[in-house]
């Protein structure tokens, strides 16, 4: 007969890998704010302290979860040119990160790089070097790519949906157009024409991401062709 703690859980022995994967699943399903050591232990049918056999603390759990997610990124392509190779790898990272939205803020708060993170970075650096970028230019270009190497942009436009009440929405619209006229003017000017959104909101994320990625890659290519050198 099964014990209560085993209901709904296969009673495999706990391992670091099982802890990390359960953490990812919990964050995927209920969001990162729902991920606590206690809730994760409960999900695994285990006493909270049992987790500390496999991760030193919650920070190390998050480190490991990032590693699991980053490992899902497709292996680097053997592409003809550096631009296609980098572009595809970044968009591949983006597809993974879109499946695990909680990973974005977690990656941003990591203080050390995990092996999988270094693997991803190393493969990008290799692409630039193979494409004829100097070590120095590659260094700066990697900084410029920044968190975009994970396929996300920090969204700075407010994303709250407009209020339901038409009168209130109208009042808000009037306030925005009078106090921030320039924002109001460009709000609807994105690819997706959603007039009901006052500020941003209805923007096409994928379009904006690729727009900026291509702008950066164009800039990189120009510097490469110019044989860019520091303090020149």
């Amino acid at each position: 007969m099964m014990e209560a703690s085993q209901v709904g859980t296969t009673r495999r022995p706990l391992s670091r890998d099982r802890v990390l994967r359960a953490g990812v699943a919990l964050a995927d399903e209920e969001g990162i704010e729902a991920l606590s050591m206690r809730r994760l232990a409960q999900r695994l049918g285990v006493v909270p302290m049992a987790l500390y056999k496999h991760v030193a603390n919650k920070e190390e759990l998050l480190d490991g979860m990032v590693d699991v997610v980053v490992s899902e990124i497709d292996p680097p392509l053997e592409a003809a040119d550096w631009r296609a190779a980098v572009r595809e790898r970044v968009l591949s990272a983006r597809r993974v990160l879109l499946r695990h939205p909680w990973a974005r803020p977690v990656i941003e708060t990591r203080t050390g790089a995990s092996p999988a993170v270094l693997d991803h970075m190393d493969s990008l650096v290799a692409m630039f070097r193979a494409g004829g970028f100097s070590a120095e230019l590659t260094h700066h270009v990697m900084h410029a790519l920044g968190s975009r190497m994970w396929g996300f942009t920090q969204e700075v436009f407010p994303s709250a949906p407009p209020p339901e009440d038409p009168a209130l929405r109208e009042a808000m619209f009037r306030q925005v157009t009078s106090r921030w006229p320039h924002i109001a003017e460009i709000a609807g000017a994105g690819a997706a024409h959603r007039a009901d959104y006052v500020v941003g909101g209805g923007c096409d994320d994928q379009f904006e991401f690729e727009f900026t990625l291509d702008l950066l890659l164009d800039g990189f290519e120009r510097l490469r062709q110019q044989d860019w050198r520091p303090r020149a």
Copy 2:
């Protein structure tokens, strides 16, 4: 005679402004993780529940604190060209954010824009429009600027200092150079030559920030001159 709760605190009546400024001071001095409703109340010589008269909850406290910080950004300059105006305003934002390092992650987690945030965005949009950017191009260019409009880049290189022990450092160095040879190659190639740092770490943040900002501004200018249009 003073009550214990008044020692070290001027007994002014509590106000939303005083709560927000105390929050900023606490976060400046002890970091964002030290900011709790209870600790903030203690600092103000007040019972925790007294704060809820002035902010609905902790999220609204953080919203207000961001507003206080963003209001410290210098007013927009009347510059001859859009490029100088945008550049100066972004670097001004950067100076403010460097004084309040906790504000970076907090800005990133806000879901709605405060008036001061919209003021900053509106002034940037106005600069692009005055510089001859179409509403549509300005929209995409603002997305491309992203969180860089606050003067920060998401740092993706691990920043942990190398271990003290020379033998351990040597072992780590050897592991990195063999497993991630391309990263090792570009690690020391930044402006600041700090050979003791294996991966990044010793990079010149200000240089990298301006490098990428100028790369983006160059790209914006090129699109403007080409009279960029969507799906062309």
